[in-house]
Symmetry: C2
Subunit: 490 residues, 2 copies
């Protein structure tokens, strides 16, 4: 039997680790801070990737692939960018190992590189250097491209999926002739992320822009989606950046516009990563382990054949295989449990820990009655249902689960979000874990002081700020142009 | 208009570069030896990946993902492996950049790593270290896993797709309880590669095993598929390794067998890479540029609407869009050419250079006659065909092209392959570019001497060697157990 899952109430952080481990999603690796994504985790990521990829293609984007290595000097070109990433770069300095006098492997001194490479933490620099060659005229624009890749940002306190030195992600990099077009693109991709989070991950998110201190290094504006985890903390689930002409200027990327004038190109970049899996886990999972939304689950249904002697095996397996075929004909992803040597309890628990949304168990008695036992992972409800019409019923139930998960998360977010008027109320909300809408005077100083005192950061400034009333900063009493969202964050 | 393509006869190597560039497949990057895979190249690779991935899943494999970084000391564990890869490793020695006195970015001396990491050139070491934790009992076996990843092997003389410092690939790593099972797995995956090469790439290949000197470092046996390029050279298109218990011993990976005895685990690994794209190009492309097999082409059909005044635009576009819909309903991948400002000749040439297998052009006159002009990329044949039944006709023609490409390549391979009896004939065949079946005495010394004198290497020892007659080495006159395949190789 797999290890037990520590209850959330007891130790939330241990619970998270237990869910990841028992869900067979990932584990730590011998390369510090890097994770091994296990088959169940990888199948989940592939489903997320394929869905997002389709949405990128539907909005006119194509994939390409840029190198893993970025010449060191490229990082110097955009001042804020180097400031933001220089402190967490893996640096490649040699191209060969050799054996030293004791026979140990060491970098061969003779292979020292003339110029060091950094392992990409993000690819704006090398991409904009190339765009400066690809773009001459307004006719070359827009460029609407994306890449799926691994990136490395050295992490001092790694946590599986949430913060790892290497992670998998996609990074979109687009080039435009006008500011308006670029802003629209950045907004469009934030909407794509929002749709994906809400409709596929069943994870409600809030949209907004970042304050200056939380902005992507090199961006003019960073748009984000933020989700509430079960402990009331926020997870930044995706960002879309309007980069202005910053990278175009840094890499001298100009184009001739329709009036035959030379202009710098306008840019966006946007990305989501395997971090989303951390968000998915902390949105839906429970004390029995992983809970996955049906639209993304590697297997949506597991069929568990139950028989207790050899005579029963044939008929039970036959029925199970027929059911599997009918479900698969409906486009449902089915796993057949073949663990016949284990007890039913062990097998049920195993599938629960792995987050399979729906379990169908079939034993000899079900055969007699043409029934099947159907159990929902999210509510743990069991129901005996007829085999007749099973595909439609399963399909409907999967839809129900998808909606129920979203609704539950939505309710939790609403329950733990407060509009606060003063700093005491604010500390109270933040202290027990939750989102607080509060007035802020707009200065980085106040923002920093609040973070120091409460560990809460400004997660976003809402886009529809004009709808919000003006007020006074809860801490300084200075004028505020509208409420912003505060929370502790992952 | 795009640059012209240098004819093969004139300069084969320049021809290859021209095809890659004009086909918009890839270009060199500022990171030395690394390539930028452009959207047309990436779409091609994604089609190859998706097809292979399906074949891996159909043979029972699942994907996972291991870290990019491998601790230096892991490389020491398998003696031949370190020997084979130490000379081409990117070594990460620092985790941070800082500015020196002149303000230049340099690796921060304080961030020097206690243990260096190498960027994976292949992942046997870190994977077998992990397998030693995953595997306890015969019940845990087999493990049938694969990963899609980027790897780095420092290259002194890089060529796009064929030899790049970073490349994309898949690496399968399986673990088995018995030698027989592992050998069967290695053979099965070689067959998968063979099917993929022949049926999807339309690239005929020969199967066999490598000599000791060409074997994968750490393998007991390396199986390979070899294809003939248009210049008569060989390209190793995929390898599948029977690793014996070498990595299990190096990483102390044992299991308890059914008789309750402790045994080392048996292993295979197998991989293909973006190198296949180089093989695809050099198998089918011609002096007009890229030629792609329909099963893998990003777009199988391009529709080119032709109109010469505004009145014509509406009706022509309407017909084109209706055609597109009908083709897409048949599962055909269609591109609509929107380059209306360019001349028809420019547009036709552009699609030829990009290797789109079939072009449909529709102008005002075709509208009157309910016709469409269909042009095959491979034969350059044009034909006026009725719009009625176009989807079936296109579908059949794509099948024809797929088969014709394979047949042409097969014929070329046969025409340029010789059974040779003496060294003069051998030198003649190798000299003008071709495959030579010749007797070899089985020693690395003779193999090395032949390579030195002719640049030809033994590409493979055929599996069905018992069918081959015995003989005498063409060079030394020593006894030979059967002919082996020689060629110059990429």
């Amino acid at each position: 039997m797999a290890d037990a899952v520590t209850p959330r109430d007891e130790d939330y952080s241990q619970w998270y680790q237990d869910v990841v481990r028992n869900g067979q999603l990932a584990e730590n690796s011998p390369a510090r801070g890097c994770m091994i994504i296990k088959p169940n985790g990888m199948a989940l990521w592939e489903n997320m990737r394929d869905q997002l990829d389709q949405m990128f293609k539907d909005t006119g984007h194509q994939n390409y692939y840029f190198p893993l290595f970025i010449p060191e000097r490229y990082m110097e070109r955009e001042a804020e960018h180097v400031e933001g990433f220089a402190k967490e770069c893996a640096v490649v300095t040699h191209s060969r190992l050799t054996q030293d006098e004791e026979g140990d492997l060491v970098p061969d001194p003779e292979s020292e590189l003339g110029e060091n490479y950094i392992v990409r933490p993000t690819s704006e620099t090398i991409i904009w250097d190339t765009y400066s060659k690809w773009i001459q005229s307004y006719r070359d624009l827009p460029l609407l491209y994306n890449q799926w890749a691994n990136v490395v940002r050295w992490e001092m306190r790694p946590r599986l999926f949430l913060r790892t030195a290497e992670f998998l992600w996609q990074e979109g990099h687009t080039a435009h002739a006008t500011e308006t077009e670029a802003v629209e693109e950045a907004e469009r991709m934030l909407d794509v992320y929002t749709t994906f989070a809400e409709e596929y991950m069943a994870m409600p998110v809030l949209q907004g822009r970042k304050t200056e201190s939380e902005r992507f290094p090199g961006a003019v504006d960073t748009y984000c989606i933020e989700a509430m985890m079960q402990d009331g903390k926020a997870l930044q689930a995706g960002t879309s950046h309007f980069l202005g002409q910053n990278f175009a200027k840094a890499f001298d990327c100009t184009f001739t516009n329709e009036d035959n004038e030379e202009e710098y190109v306008w840019a966006t970049s946007w990305g989501v990563s395997t971090r989303l899996i951390g968000g998915l886990i902390m949105t839906h999972s429970d004390d029995q382990g992983l809970v996955l939304p049906p639209k993304l689950a590697p297997h949506q249904v597991v069929i568990v054949p139950l028989f207790f002697d050899d005579d029963q095996e044939g008929p039970v397996m036959e029925t199970c295989e027929r059911l599997q075929e009918r479900l698969e004909d409906h486009g449902i992803r089915v796993k057949m449990d073949q663990n016949h040597t284990q007890s039913p309890g062990w097998r049920f628990s195993e599938h629960e820990l792995r987050g399979v949304p729906l379990r169908l168990a079939i034993g000899p008695r079900d055969l007699e009655n043409d029934n099947v036992e159907m159990a929902r992972r999210d509510t743990q409800e069991k129901e005996v249902v007829p085999q007749d019409g099973i595909a439609e019923r399963v399909s409907d139930t999967l839809d129900d689960i998808q909606h129920a998960l979203h609704e539950r998360a939505q309710d939790r977010q609403a329950d733990n979000t407060r509009v606060v008027e003063d700093y005491d109320a604010f500390r109270e909300v933040i202290g027990r874990g939750g989102f607080a809408w509060a007035h802020w005077d707009g200065t980085p100083e106040t923002e920093a002081r609040i973070q120091e005192e409460t560990s809460a950061t400004i997660r976003l400034i809402p886009f529809d700020r004009e709808d919000h009333e003006e007020g006074e900063d809860m801490l300084t009493g200075e004028p505020s142009e509208g409420r912003v969202l505060f929370a502790q964050a992952y």
